[in-house]
Subunit: 353 residues, 2 copies
């Protein structure tokens, strides 16, 4: 193994062109000092003569030299990268496309940047959330934010038990070992349902796959609203396990319209689902909000401009990023972070006045 300084020939992997990377030894040679001095100078140490320091800094700057962070991190045992995991549905080969998740990613990116952390965006199979730990075990990231609990509360608990710093966007569940941050799903579901009931709707359908904790909680609210209004729980045929992906949901919505099940209100678990429900209803000659009132969830930017403008439950996207990151930073500081449920609120528009 030869000692090389500059131009180390074709590198073994993934960099075939001869892109020689400048390193500290090069700067040292050019400045006529030792690497140790360069290291000190660049870190702003006062141990090095003020003018040499200045000179070295100038030199490095003018050559666009940046300290190799891989090496630095190895030596310093530090790392400022956080993993953000967006699960995908392996069955449907579904990509990251839900606008709400994408917004959350944006808000996390902002929050991490504000704190000087880098964000490694990673996708994992939603059936194998525990694969996220590989990011941590391999030292790539110092902590992980997972977007959504999916069907694997258990796996998340296991991850947390391994004492990996972990924060999950999702609902607060009993016996939860990990820190979650999420909107108040139960309250959101309750508000949406209560709103429809107040408007005199009698038979309200719920659209969402309750295998997902967030959806489960929303249905809890849906049921609670009925109880609070002195009504019996709605029959099973009104509780429809519709998935989030419009394509997969479509036949189910169609079936709901043609099956003869009577309903005059719908609580959907996303705006996209809501608007597709509207389409299906109208295709079958039923008016919205006349015959059926429809409430969405998320309050996406375009929800106000849909036809009809969507009544929906607003989720605090910006706050989401801030809170997720704040919680993770707490964990990184060795402080226990408690689950946090963020308030949500109804936005009443035309689809369910």
């Amino acid at each position: 193994m030869r000692k090389t300084s500059l131009a180390q020939g074709p590198t073994p992997a993934s960099e075939s062109t001869d892109r020689k990377r400048l390193q500290m030894a090069d700067i040292a040679r050019l400045a006529g000092v030792s690497v140790a001095t360069v290291s000190r100078a660049l870190s702003g140490s006062t141990l090095v003569n003020a003018e040499t320091r200045e000179r070295i800094q100038q030199l490095a700057q003018s050559l666009n030299y940046s300290i190799n962070l891989g090496a630095q991190n190895l030596r310093l045992q530090k790392n400022l990268t956080v993993g953000v995991v967006v699960p995908y549905d392996a069955q449907s080969r579904q990509h990251i496309s839900d606008p709400f998740f994408l917004s959350i990613i944006g808000s996390i990116a902002d929050a991490l940047t504000d704190h000087g952390y880098d964000m490694l965006l990673s996708r994992v199979d939603s059936e194998r959330l525990d694969a996220a730990s590989q990011l941590y075990d391999s030292g790539k990231v110092i902590g992980v934010i997972i977007i959504g609990q999916w069907r694997h509360h258990d796996q998340l608990n296991q991850l947390a038990a391994r004492n990996m710093p972990l924060v999950v966007w999702g609902g607060e569940l009993p016996q939860q070992l990990y820190c979650s941050v999420g909107g108040d799903n139960r309250n959101g579901g309750e508000q949406a349902t209560a709103h429809l009931l107040r408007a005199g709707r009698k038979r309200i359908a719920f659209l969402g796959d309750t295998a997902l904790p967030e959806v489960w909680l929303r249905r809890e609210g849906y049921l609670r609203a009925h109880t609070a209004a002195g009504l019996p729980p709605p029959p099973p045929e009104l509780q429809i396990p519709a998935p989030f992906e419009p394509d997969a949901a479509h036949p189910i919505l169609e079936h709901l319209c043609t099956s003869g099940v009577a309903f005059d209100g719908v609580v959907a678990c996303s705006d996209l689902l809501a608007i597709h429900m509207v389409q299906a209803l109208r295709a079958h000659g039923r008016s919205v909000p006349g015959d059926v009132g429809v409430v969405g969830y998320d309050d996406m930017p375009l929800a106000a401009f849909c036809e009809p403008a969507l009544t929906t439950v607003h989720q605090p996207v910006l706050e989401a990023g801030t809170e997720l990151v704040a919680a993770l930073l707490q964990l990184l500081n060795g402080v226990r972070a408690l689950p946090r449920t963020l308030p949500v609120h109804m936005v009443v528009r035309a689809s369910a006045p």
Copy 2:
């Protein structure tokens, strides 16, 4: 400096709890072999006895041990991380929120994952796109994808000149040293405009900040459509430098409606802008599409469900990620990558039939 094996006490930075990380030496000790053997075993080398290999792999697996990638990369001089840069507007403190950009991020994430690369998502000031090079110079990433050219074609050229593997989502410009991938903006602008002209519209406004190359190209198409129809170029008061951010654009759209400038068609540079234009028009008593036909850009998922459903130029989001990544991989292999312009197509809906 002491030699430590497990439990190395409170680490100096950013990891305060005593999260001891397992390392190869630990596995070696437990397996009663040397680190070299462990290294070989885990890499699946046939140089090591088949059953020892098996045993070591089992052991590592059962302990959730993953090779420290920082150290491995340093040693191997490899890196499989790609930087994706989403610029933000420092003036307006605008966050990543444009739904189209967010979709692109999703599609890039998918494409990178497919090729086994990690994605480091990073934000930089859109006035200092050259800051992106720091990611590369510091060795964090082996190449960079920047989303949008913004106002700094020049900076992008400089980055490419430093021979950093770089691909930019945006328009193809003259004297371009970097590889760009983008929708056919000129054609998109032309199609949108031609569509309105064919429908008999006479005075068509263009909404977009032409300081951005993509927008500039779209306006080229807008002008060309006029020429092709044998019409003189539209007057300056019809070419409105509206920014992408709805809040910033709003007063400008208002002003357009009240200024007395006559127009019966609008080509907007995003769906969001288009729908806000519709709102402004209606607020001032003008109907869409009756009095004014409005065409958007991007074809976001909800565009079909707006009121009115948006006629718009569809951008190939999925292909965008694929192509951006393909181009970057080419560069990483030392192959010159040519700019690529992806076809776009009109989707005709109610806002401009």
